[in-house]
């Protein structure tokens, strides 16, 4: 059925896959901004955007429900951003000012390549992860590329050539570097565990930071095999979560774009389409971060702990249909990621913002020692366990 697709040259297939992922990412990221407004409204006991409606659709029965959900607001916002006059202030450094939103999008969309988002069973009965580039380095690629995201904020702040964006840029560079450390240290126990001597590795296995492997590791048989890592290493998950909030500039760590003291910082000189690119990039970062969190600690595309996607496929009898299984796996995974995004928003409307010195103190004085202690403890524990 899909032979024509597999007959295409390799690079065209790759390009199509990348394009497909981007075409999914971009609308989800945009829809997240809408969801953010709706959830903000619901938590604050108000209905949120619920008026927008394309006039030609008004006769469709049941459209009122979608209208109340604010679905069409998304199109209206997007249209506005696309057609609004894109003013460039006179005092900015034009080249870097225009380059900054583009640079924001690059790492946000590039990291997707190393993130697996589903699996299917091929004709040989082998579980194959669905991922653009199934590289050995997995998590390291994601960390490395996403660490470039800071330049967008720094550049935007510097090129804007005004005070608040500049301060925001400086804050961003310090904050992102600070929390990257704890984040990297917090995931090390996971990979120590998956690469341990008893990890059930095939012969000739050379150690891997592959993300799909982490999910496979969490979908083994038995009590310890099927346990998600959130149960095995809750402290790692907690540190990763906190660092993730800081890395994505979300409340309570959004000192970079705090409108109260920095007037939205790097965004303050931007408008229209360039501003919306920053927003989409932020949500794309959140999506990737949530995806990594789900893969590392919440079993990826497995529906429940100790109940894997293959189990589900065998029970519902679609294991022999790779397409169905792939779609179900991706669906479960995206559902989990969206739940995580909801958690981001939920926290945003619950906690007040930390002061900048508090952010730094938490990062260096609390989270980093905690991450190091966690790493040392798990290293010793795993060494003892496998001796």
């Amino acid at each position: 059925m899909f032979d024509f697709y597999f007959d295409l040259p390799h690079w065209i297939r790759m390009a199509l896959q990348g394009l497909a992922v981007m075409l999914v990412m971009f609308p989800i990221a945009a829809a997240c901004s809408m969801a953010e407004r709706k959830i903000a409204a619901w938590i604050q006991d108000r209905p949120g955007p619920n008026r927008t409606l394309a006039p030609i659709l008004a006769w469709v029965p049941g459209i009122g429900f979608l209208q109340r959900l604010g679905i069409f607001q998304l199109a209206a916002d997007g249209g506005k951003f696309a057609f609004k006059e894109d003013a460039i202030p006179g005092h900015v450094n034009k080249f870097y000012f225009v380059a900054a939103p583009i640079i924001a999008m690059i790492p946000a969309l590039t990291t997707v390549v190393a993130v697996p988002f589903g699996a299917y069973i091929d004709s040989a009965g082998k579980l194959v992860p669905i991922v653009l580039a199934n590289v050995d380095l997995g998590i390291l690629v994601v960390f490395a590329v996403s660490s470039l995201g800071v330049y967008a904020v720094i550049l935007a702040g510097w090129a804007s050539n005004s005070k608040f964006p500049f301060l925001g840029g400086i804050r961003a560079s310090a904050q992102l570097i600070s929390y990257e450390l704890s984040m990297t240290l917090s995931v090390l126990p996971v990979f120590l565990w998956t690469n341990g001597p008893l990890a059930g590795e095939p012969a000739g296995f050379t150690g891997s930071l592959n993300l799909a492997r982490v999910v496979e590791f969490q979908s083994q048989a038995g009590f310890w095999g099927g346990a998600w890592f959130i149960f095995l290493m809750p402290l790692s998950a907690f540190i990763f979560l906190v660092a993730l909030f800081a890395e994505t500039n979300r409340q309570p760590f959004d000192t970079v774009e705090s409108e109260a003291d920095l007037v939205n910082s790097f965004g303050s000189e931007y408008g229209a389409f360039k501003w919306s690119l920053f927003y989409v990039a932020e949500y794309a970062h959140m999506l990737i971060g949530s995806a990594i969190f789900m893969i590392l600690f919440f079993g990826g595309w497995n529906p429940l702990p100790w109940y894997t996607l293959s189990d589900l496929a065998h029970h519902l009898n679609f294991a022999h249909l790779p397409l169905v299984m792939g779609v179900v796996g991706i669906g479960i995974f995206i559902g989990k990621v969206l739940a995580m995004i909801f958690f981001f928003m939920w926290v945003r409307w619950t906690l007040p913002r930390f002061r900048y010195d508090q952010v730094m103190a938490i990062g260096w004085k609390k989270l980093l020692p905690l991450a190091i202690a966690n790493l040392v403890a798990y290293t010793i524990g795993i060494a003892l366990l496998y001796r």
Partner: protein, 175 residues
């Protein structure tokens, strides 16, 4: 070979942005050119099958070191400033260095033509530098002492930075 084209593209990118580091007036632009150059080097590493090093290059250098540079550039706000003409000694030494460079590169090219540098080593099944375990084994067996020394160096560097950036009280009269 397609990887040849990639080598020339990334080599040109790396060298070009390295030149931009040297010749641009704006310090921020210099830091960003350094960033591009480092990413180019990471791409060269990928061509050499050193994927881990490429990722580390981007992670450590491009992600942290250049960000630190930019942070300091913005903190000190040193925008170019006036440029004095070079002294004669500088120009002379620069000229000598250029001569040496030309001689060195020419000898490279000549030796390369003789193709005597590389002894043909049989190709391994897995390219060197592609497996993580190889790195781990090397680091914790052959190179254990350097690893520990480097760890110690990092600790000392950290202490040094803390001491340097601390404002001491009562030392104001020492100039």
């Amino acid at each position: 070979m397609s990887s040849d084209i990639f080598f020339y593209i990334f080599a040109a990118l790396t060298a070009g942005s390295a030149l931009a580091v040297v010749f641009t007036k704006n310090t921020v632009a210099a830091a960003l050119s350094l960033l591009v150059s480092l990413v180019g080097v990471a791409a060269i590493f990928v061509l050499l099958d050193a994927f881990l090093l490429a990722a580390l290059m981007v992670f450590v250098y491009a992600g942290a070191v250049v960000a630190l540079f930019l942070f300091i550039v913005m903190l000190l706000d040193s925008q170019g400033g006036t440029r004095k003409p070079f002294k004669k000694a500088t120009l002379f030494s620069g000229f000598v260095a250029l001569l040496l460079l030309i001689v060195g590169l020419a000898s490279f090219a000549q030796r390369g033509a003789q193709a005597a540098i590389v002894h043909e080593v049989p190709a391994a099944a897995v390219p060197v530098g592609a497996s993580l375990r190889a790195y781990g084994e090397q680091l914790f067996t052959t190179y254990l002492l350097p690893v520990q020394i480097v760890g110690f160096l990092l600790l000392i560097a950290m202490l040094g930075v803390i001491v340097l950036s601390k404002k001491f009280e009562g030392l104001g009269d020492i100039k």
